[in-house]
Symmetry: C2
Subunit: 145 residues, 2 copies
């Protein structure tokens, strides 16, 4: 499994938000927790992170909850993953080195850069709007079967 639990929970939660009918405003975290079977308090922390990073907004109190902070067309899978796993998750060195002279690359570098660019390109194209459409057409599996 490539992504951490934090990341998987975050992805599924955001996808859940993206598939809610537009007339719904704030969605309680408890609802997401139950529907997606994610530990409530853990999910709360994860979503607080996403809120701090500007992906979602929250409101306390009755009728409170969370909602996407941007239109779905401006949210893609790549930036959500990177905000959780780290900005260099798809762009760092394959050997885990932090400082490296890419002008004088090692034997693995070129191949690795090609993979990374492919991943980033593909995930970057996946905005929630496109996904929402496809989810309406095909359904989205958000729970273990």
């Amino acid at each position: 499994m490539i992504f951490s639990k934090r990341c998987l929970h975050a992805l599924r939660a955001v996808l859940y938000l993206g598939t809610q009918p537009p007339e719904r405003d704030f969605i309680p975290i408890r609802e997401i927790s139950k529907k997606l079977d994610i530990p409530f308090h853990f999910l709360t922390k994860i979503l607080k992170d996403l809120a701090d990073k500007g992906f979602i907004e929250s409101s306390r109190g009755a009728a409170g909850g969370i909602r996407l902070a941007k239109p779905t067309a401006e949210l893609n899978v790549k930036e959500i993953i990177e905000s959780i796993e780290g900005e260099d998750y798809f762009s760092g060195c394959i050997l885990g080195f932090s400082k490296c002279d890419s002008d004088n690359p090692c034997a693995l570098h070129d191949r690795w850069v090609a993979i990374k660019e492919e991943i980033q390109k593909m995930l970057g194209e996946e905005h929630l709007e496109v996904l929402s459409t496809r989810i309406q057409e095909q359904g989205l599996r958000l729970l273990e079967m």
Copy 2:
């Protein structure tokens, strides 16, 4: 960073073995540990795993150490990574689900499958033999700079 420390250590160690002159037989783990700055006992455990999985062979005692168990042409980066991170590391579900009906895929599936196949193809082509040649030509960076 996509890979665990275990995996990075294993990769670097195997690459180190692959770049040793052929007249060297068993290489002491201590040497690898020092040269690559990897904790000795941790590395020992990791390499024991690789030995159990048939990638390397070991010999105790004076003049002992480890060596690759197969010709470099038959060892590629993909199988080493998968042996450590798990066989489904590049083939599992993007949402982390274990059981899923791929005949009736969700909205993310097709794109994800394309990425995974690309990764597996590229990493599967990287056998140590090719790398060794390139390493002789270009050098391989095995240490943080």
